[in-house]
Amino acid sequence: MVEESDVRVVRFGGSKINLRPPIISTDSRFVLCTSGDSVKVYSTRTEEWLHSLQGHTNQVTGIALNPANHLQVYSCSADGTVKLWDFIDGILIKTFIIGYPLFAIYVSEKHEGIVFLHIAMDTDSKKEGFQLVAVHLPKSAEQEVEAKELSAVSSHISPNPSCTAFGREGQYIAFARNLQLNVYFFRKQKTYSFSLKATDKKGAKNAFTCIACHPTDDCIATGHEDGKIRLWRNFIHKKEYTYSTQHWHHNAVNTLCFTPEGTNLLSGGIESVLVQWQYGTGNRKEFLPRLGGSILHVSASSDGQLFCTSHSDNKITVIESSFKVCGVIQGLVKGDAVLTDLMIDPRSKALVLNGKPGHLQFYSLLRDKHLYNLDIVQQEYIYEAGLDQFEVVKAAFDIKGYWLATVEERGQKSADLEFFLKLWSYDERTQSFVLNTTITAAHTDRIISMCFSSSEETTMLVTIAEDGQFKAWCQGVDADTKQDQNFWSCDFVGSYHNLKPTNCSFSADSSLLAVSFQEVITIWSPDTWELLTTLCQPPGVIRDLCFGRLSCSKYLISTTTRNLLCCWNLLTCALEWSTSVEVSKLQSDPLSENVAAFSYQSKHTDLFVFKPNEPRPLFTHKNVCSEKIHRAVFVPREEPLNNCDESSQWLNRSQLYFLTQNMDLLTFSTATEEDRMLSSSTRLVIDDSVAVTPFYLLLGKHRQQQQKLNTPSHQAADRPQQPQGSVTITELLHTPAHVLPPASVLCSMFVSSLLISNTGVLQDPLRKEMESSEQEMNSEKEEEDSEGEMEACDSQQELRVQGSVDEVTPKLSKAQERELKRVRKTDFSWMAGLIASKP
């Protein structure tokens, strides 16, 4: 895929964290997992995302702790590189270029400097032929090294990476494929293979699904498709090998893991029950049920105190060895299908879509964190196949995020369709949506689409349904109920020649409503409910409708099923331009004039970004992915980029996320963005020469954010300037209490945050000055760190003096405030030193 532009498709935010087994660091403080193109590091105690290791340009397909240095981790990716990271500081130490797409990585203590990788067979990639190769990693000082020494250990191995495992002390490697178990001894260079019959008389399905090797005994545990677990022993004999069988799982065993001491075996499957088998005593087992989605991977920390399970609902559960759940790291929940559109909650800027059955999930893409689930259906969901249960199928937010409309439906397959239209209002007190109105029979047939009017004053909801009508709903005062409660009721029912409506859209200023009926677009005035005009360009049923924004608000864009993209000028009521393109999804950016169109042609999807006023695309990206795309959303950026490059300019204000059919959330990233990310990580490297403590994390992050604030790209004019301290406050509120510094330390920070800063003309020169001084500061600080505690004590006293001075001063100038912060920044490293020196 050669692209001339620097815009790439990346997985960033909301990626799968359950693709590969998570790793717990040796000190049990961090959980590492693959997540899209990066490796994420979470804290095991607070479940917070600490940072991610970014640098791969394709899906990361495996991670493994460096056996030689437990602070380092290897990661392999489909981009053909193996990278070695310092995962605590997030520094990329080395990159080894292998040159083939990699699919899994294994390391063993015995084989120092060698990693074992899954690569696709050279001959035919279609037949899923994979081979296991040992790669000797060359020792050289360079950052990027090409690893050339590949030696194949075995070809034709299973594409499932959990079907390969290292045995006791790395003496042998066991790998299974379909019905055959192979054990390769490195010293003897000999493979023993054992095969099972495909099925037996009792209908057992014997295919291997996973493998684990006992750490001290020569015993291999294998999981099978029918839920059996076999323990193989004596496997150096062709005939006298033996195995014992255990059976608890009723369906395929997804994962197996021995605890580091080898006393227990953990297994998990679709039942979402973690089973702990006592090794050597046959049937004794413990259960940890109701963990959520089916268990995909289990891993244990090296001291055996923590277990990690990753689940099919994109979740990692941290479990103590006493079988108690102590933490849940939730990624973006991905069900079988997303029925609602991708939406952005205007308040939290969170991505909203179907999550758990019957729920809407709110997912912060910026922090890459699952915020909460909103129970829409409010009924018990029964986990059983073939049941027809209520599902959220439509949802819409109004422009300010005060109202949420949802439609839930049951009986999609059968004839008797049941559906409810629910309206939720945002409750400031509980900071969540509260059910306001439930409309049981909003229409006589299924609701196809709905949208809120975008005007600031009155909120109006328009729904269209298969019964040929569109209805407008308004918030009105119901005479029967109390005055202070406003419920929604129907305001207007419209139809057009009994045609079936297909889509609806409000113009940006809510002065016009466009409803498409089959091949005809009708334009209504929401104030008078007068049919203003009709637009028609046969052939083809209208599929998508969208009004232009900002300077292009006079245009209306529509797509039809017959591969036609039309742009109407609403002033002249005439067709401005049209082009023949098969558009599967049309999405307009709320912050700019841009409209993105995904077009599916000849088995791959292309993206066109254009402005409605000119028929020439602003940006084209061929072959975005090989599937049809039906869901996409523009996510506003927290701070706009300032790309001058024409091809990436459209990404300045917001990011375009889209969802593929196998539920991958992808986005586009620009070169500048990546550069910035890389540079920020390198800067991080310089700063993070001190030990990482909770104090440090808090303060370090705080500082980072300040630095971001200080960057010249920040345009204060865009949004009302937030009070300086709000970062601190959020930091305070979002950090678990036990990692916070004492309140006395935080107090001054908190107080200063409440003070109104005066922004003046002087700001810019000051800021420049600031930056230069800050850089000096950093270098100074490094020296300080190496020197020891004495100075640190001094600086603390200094702080006290200064702090008291601050408190007296009623108002601070911007410069003074910065000064204060700078001082504060410097002096908390001593605490880290104190903690580190404590035995």
Binding site: R168, T216, D217, D218, C219, R233, N234, F235, I236, H237, K239, E240, Y241, T242, Y243, S244, T245, H250, G280, T281, G282, N283, R284
Partner: protein, 689 residues
Amino acid sequence: MGEFKVHRVRFFDYMPSGIRALAFNRDIERIAVARMDGSVEVFHCSDRFFQEKIIPGREQCGIEGLSWVGERLFSAGLNGGITEYDLTNQKVKYTVDAYGGPIWTIAGNQQGTHLAVGCEDGTVKLFEVNEDKIQFERNLDRQKSRIISLSWHPSGSKIAAGMMDMIQIFNVETGHSVHRLLADRGVGTSRSKECVVWSVVYLSDGTIISGDSVGMVKLWDDQTGTLIKSHNVTKCDVLALSVSQNEDSLVAGTSEGTVVQFQFISMVLGKDDKEWVRTRTFKNHTHDIRAVAEITTAVVSGGMDAQLVVRPLLDKVEVRSAASALRKIHFPHRRLVSCARKSGLMLFQYPGHLELWRLGESEGKGEDDIHLFVKRNPEKLLHLKVKGEDHIRCSAVSPCGEWIVYSTASSLRLYRLHCDNNNVSITKVLQISTELSANQLCFSSDSSHLFSASTQSSVHLVSLSQSGCKFVGTLKPKSGERTIGIRESSKIIPASEDGKWLASANSDHEVHIYNLQTRKAHCTVPVYSSAVTAMGIHPTTNCLFMMYADQQMCEYSIEQKQYTDWSRMVQRKGLHRFWMERDTPCLNVMFNPQHPSHVILHDTYMLCIIDQSLPLPDDKTQFYNQLTLKSLPEEQRKSHSHAFKVCKTFKDILCVELMSDQSLVVVERPLEDVASQLPAPIKQKKFAT
């Protein structure tokens, strides 16, 4: 192949008796099986588990344990006696009372000098094994509770005894207890119940392995008397244990019907510190497993569901073949049914009584060609209870239906049947005491003579007439080179149709042919390595057709005293793979007078007609070719057909007989019917129920 009218008989309510004990003798490769009804059977392990010997039981004689001492077989039971069996003549040799109340277990030491029995009164009694009898030697220290299980240390110096709640180790020299190992009771409600140590095994390295009613298999050290390891095998009882010859594998039978294997494996490959690890689980039984035995290449288990299961251990089998397949033995390898060919009567042999039935009749054609209307239902004519406590060893009804004969271990009784219209009556004609008791009985085809196979390969002749019966004489094999040495008793005796020839086979695999006119031995068929399971003399050619336990077949011309050309051809070309892989022996050989080239054979699962005029199949030809032949046009059938025509319509066949009116009687005993009459098994929780 021809068409037959078939009497499909399913009213023979034969119930095999549950298996109580197993004993394996490595030297002669025989396994002895004791059943609940007191009968003892001997199977030949290397001859496809052919049931060589059956010693019928007696009323009220339950066997609890079996033990081989050399080639002698001993049993002990709850009647308090120790019994030795005369295996050559298939009868009880003697019974010695141990005077210790009911005996729960018997064990012989490896040296073959002593027998130990565990009694209800808490004593372990040692018996010295003499050449002809056993002699009580002494008691070991008397314990408070009954002795359930015993095991000798291979050196013969110590005995481990399983009791209620504990295991005692005795020093045989002093007779004193060395250690007392306490077995834990179960938890919860079963805490108040005593823990019964059902089985113990004493290994040569001093490890004692016990199986108890709590469901644990425990490993103990006999030096310190401590528990080394315990494995929870089941929620119910572990009833039986057995260890392999080289002590690297142990099997435990549970009351859930599973056999659990333990293996002595080094945990780290290449090192010597080995541990007992639970490995495989075999589930072939539905009911309690009362006995297991690990033989050289297989695990044999038997229990309440009355089937003997031979589960091969593939890691010990050298070559995989039909002989090393999973084998389930449900029915005895001999006939329990005899038919009066001319009068349509059938005699069913039960352990304690005989039943005589008249076959039903049908009305020519039915609505479809498969099922015929029954005009007259089968009718039970007679229920003859056996006199005395012994069970029936064999029985027969004459072809004319006038005579019924049966034999127990002690006597032979001949009855005459009077049948006028619906009145059936019998009169006892003859009663012969012990020395003439028969192993097999047979009438001549004209019902004028009764042949009774007896001890020392001899056959007694009794002539039958309306006026009376007379013992005529005894046929003995040529006393040539084999005068010394005990001859096995005869087993299978078919007489030729014309009354001229008689053949008898014994369990030494010898087949003797006698001339009935001269009453002299005619010749002996060359001895084959496998046992004869069935034979028949062809009515016209006077060839003897023999089936062997390893599924080979031979045809021997009596007149020419040599194998026939067809038989030589069979030997030369070999039999088809599918034929050799069948796992039950052929139980009857019949000839169809209308097609002299046809031989009718049957085993438990199929009925076969061998057409000697057709070519033999080789391994490439389709063996079960009836359907293919049906689809072919008439002309091509000839070229595709081969000598073996197999009919698998009937299952679980006990007997097939060709009646004189060209109808076939097929006596079936469906295994489902047997299973439905068994007591309910232990209730087990099944997934999703």
